[in-house]
Symmetry: C2
Subunit: 137 residues, 2 copies
């Protein structure tokens, strides 16, 4: 059964961000444009994504610590320790990143995106549409 809970990455991030100390806290706080490079095996699943769309991206913070339950929000030691599930810290038991990004360009399996603070090489796990009103689903 535990075999069912293994993430199989569908691609990876290409970014000029390589050091966690340099990464912005959130994508809309000065992240550079980056690329998502997908595996050939998921090509068909990507076919309805369009330039200009705003989507949700799930990544796996592969350089995070999984044993943290209390963190200082935004790494600011002046702020009191907070339960990790009330924060967006990458350090958490299952280090999934959730990013709201915009697709800037599509070149085959390469997608250029805006507002992604993930580091170069970060595994890409999933993409989902932002849910609109009931009538648009």
């Amino acid at each position: 059964m535990s075999d069912d809970l293994v993430i199989r990455p569908i691609g990876k991030v290409e970014s000029t961000l390589t050091d966690r100390a340099d990464a912005p806290r959130q994508g809309d706080e000065g992240a550079p444009d980056a690329w998502l490079v997908f595996d050939e095996s998921v090509r068909e699943g990507l076919r309805d994504l369009r330039v200009g769309s705003e989507i949700l991206l799930i990544t796996w913070f592969d350089r995070a610590r999984r044993d943290e339950l209390l963190v200082h929000p935004r790494g600011d030691l002046a702020r009191p320790e907070t339960g990790v599930f009330s924060t967006r810290s990458p350090d958490r038991p299952n280090p999934l990143g959730l990013h709201r990004i915009t697709i800037l360009a599509i070149d085959g399996l390469r997608f250029q995106v805006r507002n992604l603070e993930a580091l170069d090489g970060t595994p890409v796990v999933d993409l989902k549409p932002v849910l609109g009103d009931l009538t648009e689903r």
Copy 2:
């Protein structure tokens, strides 16, 4: 390295929903109130969550198919097949569910929540705050 991409569930869903055919398509389309039951090992990480808060929940759809790349949106055969990453289908390469829920009650490690369409027994993977304006982070 692949060992790093193993999800370790932090709890599970308790719900009256047991059959996928009966589950609503999204949590705000008639899902019953449900409970999240967390593992003792993550108690400290939960301590700043409050009744009334709206949060994001990530689950693992353990009864989903991982080999689907094209689906009919909302299971409606009248709608054309769509690349899975443009849909919220549970059937997807990494079957993570993303749910926006409200905490109705907290009883130790048991949290009652509104708007959760996940089935009974679904593994709970992560909780994250909804991101507010820059000034509130």
